[in-house]
Symmetry: D2
Subunit: 403 residues, 4 copies
């Protein structure tokens, strides 16, 4: 019986060549094509996989699952790798891995293959996730193995009648899903060079964006966005809609030299219009609904969770626990945030919540003030006591002398 | 002999009334008026203090010291309280306190007075700092003590011929220095209300800002900005200049509901145009000059240091050590950052450094690639081993079976 | 109608005097006497409260609730304030506060009173917990208010026929419950002085302890101890039993100069024999059942949770969330730990678990070794890459030159 | 010209075989034998290296440098990997690497070799450190490369007339230096088995240790131990002396299942008598000399630094900065600690310091009390305010209603 391999198939040149290469290596290839919100041409890809020689092709629209089971936690956790990158590709890899393993089990395949190179993060994310789900599955990384130059790959494609796309000389390497789009390579490899406009697709340059500001009211329920201007949407629809609206206002461009898991720095350009709006608004809503001790402690949990996901450790006991923790911490984050979108800016204009801990009677400087200012005297005495004791030591002054 | 008190004097209504009140309480009042970059009318204030009955008035331009000994560390540390507020007032209080204590020592005064209310952070910052410098000094907080309403205060002023400024019914409470401007009270006390334009002074509304983007190249030397477009400036001049340039582009507005040290949430509006540009550029320069382990660890130190300063603990052994640590960590942050200023946005266009750890030969996907992709196989095997072992346990699969 | 106050009553001098003092202040006093595992004479205390003039006395054995709802989380969290103090008193205060508030509600009392002084942590813990449960309850702290010296208090007691215990001149201030015993004051106030033997009650001096080592096997189930030598016990019984066994072996003495919440350092002596054995064994069991990333991250959560409880913030959203997190993290901590008790030492002799992640086939250096040593080469190459890149920069060596 | 390799040579079987193996591979071998406090027979090793065929052998007693430049920082940092392991081997590797690189430079050798296997931490530590010092040096790991079983290695040794030590069938793998001794393998590979007595060498079993307790006074100067019972010693002498004294009292045995850098858990037995005494005493001295905020923050820095060193990142910008930070934090840790050594226990009996922040006048409950208990009322009001506001929200009670 021939060996069977389940391949993550995108329809692009790399994975099309991969099908042939795997056939050459003696495999029956089962292609799997997922949509996680990037709007793939699933039917075309299905046909192409079979044309390339795959014995079967699974077509899966996983957008809903991606939004609810993956993106949602990144919203709870305000996940931003190195404070800049909202985990676009890192977030889809564990879901794709899960589907690949499920199909491997269904089809009794012992192998799973992905199209990543040997110097990116995604190879790690795929392989660690797959092993986490089933340690007995063998993983093949053809692109890492064949070590061809771009030219050699195209020669191989032509030789095997694999269609070479007209943009095969595009300088960029792109990944896209519901939560955003990443772009690297080409001129971007020089971090002193300004990213050219053709590196962007979801967003306008702020300079060319709408001249009229747009106000939106976003409603949140326990940390997740549920409505725009009072109209409720399922999460994936709300994100798609905001990607569109905010993109027109030039919002969500990120230019980041990031530290990859595999030890190098790389320069990436991201576009995450919806993410930018949602996270800006939600973090603002947190300021009135979360206690100070939560506000000051949770960044540590958020950073750790973000690193786990960036590093491909979605399926791990620590990530599982942190997901619950992040979700629990968001329970009171319910309310409305008024934002203005304008030429690259998301400006919060106002925020309100039934769970608001902002207490105007305590905060006001008007005659309505209910704060007991006399209490501050005792507070300062005790809060400052360690400092005073240290100072007494330095100045050789005793308590008695201070009385 | 009469008791002597050194008073932090601004020339405004509160501290003018305070002089009289202290005289009523039997004190000789020595006024101290500091400029920390806000451009105070020092001569006018001097004259006014004496008019109000102060026996002496010290006039000090501390802008240089403020820039070099205080603002610099906030730049090293990327200090942003709750990720939003770049420590405007919190930063000047320890310097003012130091000057007050020095003058108290010079004049043999046993008392120091400040004009803060009993519900803000600044009372804590002044009193803790003063005690840290000399625990035997007695601190008086007249505004906290007299517990008058605004009307009662004005009545008192009129009765004592203290000039009531024409904007005495301004709804806002303002503080300003080299590093920015804060504004609170009035309609801002309702966090759902959009801040009105009269709450701002240093910045234009992005909508009304310049229509033409402006490109700047900022040069940094070990973490501090030293030149704009190749022209070197002393730090305080560079900041003043950037406040002006960036303000015209609508950059640096912050609307923040923050957790005060004294237990309440308050809504503050800040304007920090120079800080926004400097910290955005410098944090970007860090991405190519700092190692990954530093990038991932230093946020913890930065957050701790920021909280120390926000909480008035400038003069403390921990703050002293953290200042050195933050400065040491910035040693390699030397280089140039190209930024574009446009309608509220500071966009980094490029960055370069002689200390750059970005290695194009390792990062590139071209044929120049020097990265050993085969090494990734071993890396993933070992990096993913804990996950695999956990999965083997869950799936009851032995190592032997996997061979 | 007379004002009603619910008083935390221990039967000791301070709280007996407090009853009379509250009556003098015009209150009807409802005494509440709780046992949280210290083995109080509840009947005697009941009678005494009424003798002292209380209009009623509630007697509550809360040991079970204390073990299951309070001590359990301190075990999950390995809670040790400043790495030394396992939260003895800090842990009972929130439970006592809860009972006081419940009885205040039942009896329509507007006031609650406690017997703490004005310089300890417990006043804070009581008052913050009570306000967290019902912000409208008014708290009275008679001992803090009356500001009597010890002599004045005894005079007052004698005058009001309040029995003065024969050990009223004991130098120590003691608190005790299921989880341990604290002792302060007297000669202990000098941190250079060796704690005298009369400061201890639950433990023998190691020098005088049993000469024969004792081996125990402790079984844990998801983080909690459930059996000794195979015999199952409810948590509170298991703790009481271990207090007895370990105390005889001189285990669990702690001598700690700690940083109080209220700004001073104080020297405390604790005895926590069961806690010492349970936490030592459980932390060891964690080493084989928890993943490395959990082991390295959870100390941060543990420290935060411990500080929350030490600081009296049991009833707070952050503490609630952290409790769940700590419990979740302990889910796999099931198994057995063999310990030896001997003259102050708890030595782990062995540990095993069905959830063990220790994999002998991977760890062994025998011919059974299943670890792929060749993978290390790739791992080291990539793990060490950032260091190498930095070194190349420092030594001005290019990638090409290294090939 | 023949290739030259500098080999870390211990005189044991593995590195003796390595010399021959390297000669077989065509190298001229320069042996380097370091003493870092373990008391090696340097002369015998010198002779043996040449007998084995090395063209030269460098003999270096680096104990002093090891104590002053390496161990000292581990004392400053209270370094304990996973709270248990005081970095014995991890600490010597960077120093040995430095010497190897220096000698490679002196002798114009392009290669450095070490005797580590492919599954331990030390291979990483050596290779990362060597690359950090000179990225152009090539590292060879013969034991990892030859992949022989123990039997095959001995056959090779016999064939090449390499003396096989009589204890070559010792089940244990040992490493030792000034700061302690590690032991692994053999029966220790089963974590349920009690470590047999022959696994220990520096310490007595507490049961067999001295029956008479011994009191010592240790003096510290800015974090480092400088005297025992008033007699000053250089650091390395003081450590050697304490290893001897404390070992006789059964102090410093550690049994640890630890998480290696290379992804597995391994069970290790350590003996660190001096480390145990020094760190116990010094941590106690910190309680009176360091402020609360330092005490509560520095564990995070200590943990990070310890992980850096454990992971072989001694030579890195982050480690450099953290070393300074840890040293700075120890500046006030000067004073004396009285300890009792008895059958496995190090008990602190008392501590004192000219820098003590413990203030008896503030701490005392006698009539000397100088603490302002009234201040606590205001402190609790404000410290508890966030909790009260949350509770008011939950209970729908307004501020006004509470007045």
């Amino acid at each position: 019986m021939k060996k069977k391999v389940v391949l993550a198939y995108s329809g692009g040149l790399d994975t099309s060549v991969t099908i042939q290469w795997l056939i050459d290596e003696g495999f029956d290839v089962i292609a799997v094509c997922l949509d996680v919100g990037e709007g793939n041409d699933l039917e075309g890809t299905y046909k192409k996989a079979l044309d390339m020689g795959a014995i079967d092709c699974y077509i899966i629209d996983a957008t809903l699952e991606y939004a609810n089971e993956f993106v949602s936690y990144t919203i709870y956790g305000n996940s931003m790798y190195e404070d800049k990158y909202p985990l676009v590709s890192a977030l889809s890899r564990p879901l794709i891995s899960k589907k690949l393993v499920e199909i491997a089990h269904e089809t009794n395949a012992d192998y799973v293959a992905h199209g990543c190179t040997g110097k990116g993060n995604d190879q790690v994310r795929f392989e660690v996730a797959i092993k986490a789900l089933d340690p007995s599955i063998k993983v093949i990384a053809p692109v890492r193995e064949w070590t061809w130059s771009r030219e050699e790959e195209i020669d191989y494609a032509i030789k095997h009648n694999i269609p070479v796309p007209i943009d095969h000389d595009s300088p960029y390497s792109i990944d896209q899903n519901l939560w955003g789009r990443s772009c690297e390579c080409g001129i971007l490899e020089n971090p002193w060079e300004t990213p050219p406009e053709d590196a962007f697709e979801l967003t306008k340059n702020p300079i060319d964006a709408e001249d009229t500001p747009e106000e939106l009211t976003l409603s949140f329920n326990s940390g997740l966005p549920v409505a725009i201007n009072g109209t409720e949407y399922p999460l994936e629809q709300l994100i798609l809609s905001l990607n569109d609206i905010a993109g027109k206002h030039g919002i969500g461009r990120i230019d980041h030299v990031e530290n990859r898991l595999i030890g190098i720095k790389s320069r990436e350009v991201y576009e995450t219009p919806a993410a930018k709006v949602i996270l800006t608004a939600k973090r603002d809503l947190e300021t009135i609904t979360l206690t100070k001790d939560i506000m000051h402690f949770k960044p540590i949990i958020e950073q750790k969770y973000t690193e786990q996901i960036y590093n491909g450790l979605w399926y791990s006991p620590l990530s599982d626990v942190l997901r619950n923790t992040l979700k629990d911490l968001q329970q009171p984050v319910t309310g409305e945030v008024k934002v203005q979108l304008y030429k690259g800016n998301v400006t919060v204009l106002g925020r309100k919540s039934e769970n608001s801990l902002y207490n105007e009677a305590l905060a006001t400087y008007t005659s309505e003030d209910a704060f007991d200012q006399a209490a501050s005297v005792g507070f300062i005495e005790i809060f400052g006591l360690p400092t005073k004791v240290k100072s007494m030591l330095d100045n050789k002054i005793t308590v008695e002398k201070l009385k």
